[in-house]
Symmetry: C2
Subunit: 260 residues, 2 copies
DNA sequence: CCATGCGTTCGCCTATACGGAACAGACTGT
DNA sequence: ACAGTCTGTTCCGTATAGGCGAACGCATGG
């Protein structure tokens, strides 16, 4: 709708971990707009605190972003509920757990609890974005979205292969998501990072909508032995959290759907 | 400059911990703009992932914010350096330490390390915004800014009293900041929260500019005994971090300034 | 059953942001 | 020392994009 605001989104999209600092000309080239337009845009973003000018006249993300993210994290009801279940999982297995959401085609970790074992998964943190087509949480979140949306997201973000196990075609993805939807959980067996496996299951709110996915991340060699137990525990945890959020359970939910 | 982008800043400012959810009409009233304009603005912000629509048609902050904050946190060089010094402080005293910056008149925690003692300061987290005119970090950060900027910030944000000790007038603040600038550190003796004291000192980068403030937060009853030692340790820590960032030290810096 | 609130849509009109060109300063390699 | 080429910044006319008010559909509730 509002073109100028969309530009804001595009500009901020440029600032990544790999390229955290940009100049006016660079931004202008990247977005295909005149330097003067880019200049006005960046200057205004500095004014509202989203960007910060370095002394050399270049631009970085501003700390205002942090303040906003704090408001976000402290006002999400289901995040607190999920945290309790995650603590129990960590206490039981000593493995790292994650909570993730899907928004605007991005899968983002919104909570993490690191495991307690000497060898554990540590490559992640709150706010980290990860691929939707191969991570366990990503597949869970996609599975409960309309297929057209999934197609659109894949068209936008692509399906890069990270390991030989990564799904890279839409056909494979469709059958995988179908399976995830029926089973109610998803695996990631070395599809994103070698030696790393995950199980994930959906968390639903009182309306039955999938609002987040909870996962357990385990090194490959340990995952093999206890795969079934990990799966059961994650499913149990997500069932508990969903119930606390007012979800009535699969049967009750489908029943009430029939009635309406 | 760009009016539309400024509106974005104003809108996002509305979403606070106390009032995290807004409707179109509410936003329109709060900003003094027509409903239709507010609608267009909110709809676009949803599109770029900064806001999220609830099922009831209201609006909340979107998870895109989190992804951006992650980029921000993982690309700040001096934050890593400061963290090491903070770890040493925690190891020594077992008290909570904070790292804060000033941007757009806001003081925001960008790093926190919780203490290890049974009774410790825990009321805070990364991204939390706090008052500039009474917190120790706030006073340090203000002290090294031009007085006109300080006046502007106070006019914008006000000087509310949180305890009987809070500074509430510009005159008091000016003399306090003058003292902080000369001493090179600031105290907060129950000025923000009763029973809570802090010492803070500035971190400078290679150009001599104050980029952040580091503080130690201690319960009042313990602070009394070791006040001097806390102060010395914080000053030592910030001196180390500043040096690692290429700061030449007060004397060298003023000397090089004379030459130019 | 009307009154009042909500979020949303439509289209006119003008304010506004776009974009080309020109400017000032910092490097760089002759 | 000096042209050449990068920066970031300023200016200003024009056309387009966004602000605005009115009308819409839908709840809710007295």
């Amino acid at each position: 709708m509002l073109g100028t605001v969309q530009k804001v989104g595009e500009v901020l999209e440029l600032f990544t971990r790999e390229h955290p600092e940009w100049g006016v000309s660079e931004v202008a080239k990247a977005l295909g707009i005149p330097k003067s337009s880019a200049h006005a845009l960046l200057a205004t973003l500095v004014q509202i605190g989203f960007l910060k000018r370095t002394r050399e006249g270049r631009y970085r993300l501003g700390w205002r972003i942090l303040a906003l993210s704090q408001v976000l994290l402290s006002t999400s009801s289901w995040r607190m509920e999920a945290r309790r279940a995650m603590e129990e999982l960590v206490a039981r297995f000593g493995e790292t757990t994650h909570l993730a959401v899907l928004e605007c085609g991005r899968v983002v970790y919104v909570e993490k609890l690191e495991g307690t074992r000497a060898v554990r998964v540590v490559n992640t943190g709150v706010g980290v974005e990860l691929p939707a087509h191969c991570s366990a949480v990503g597949k869970v979140l996609l599975a409960f979205r309309p297929w057209e949306e999934v197609e659109r997201i894949m068209a936008e973000r692509g399906m890069p292969a990270f390991t030989p196990n990564t799904i890279t075609t839409l056909d494979e993805l469709r059958t995988e998501l179908q399976a995830v939807r029926e089973r109610g959980y998803a695996y990631d067996i070395e599809e994103v990072v070698p030696e790393l496996c995950c199980v994930a299951a959906p968390i639903r709110d009182h309306t039955g909508e999938v609002v987040a996915a909870l996962s357990l991340s385990v090194p490959f060699y340990r995952f093999q032995q206890l795969k079934e137990e990990y799966r059961r525990s994650v499913l149990e945890a997500t069932r508990q959290v969903s119930e606390r959020l007012g979800y009535m359970g699969e049967e009750a939910w489908t029943r009430s759907r029939w009635r309406s």
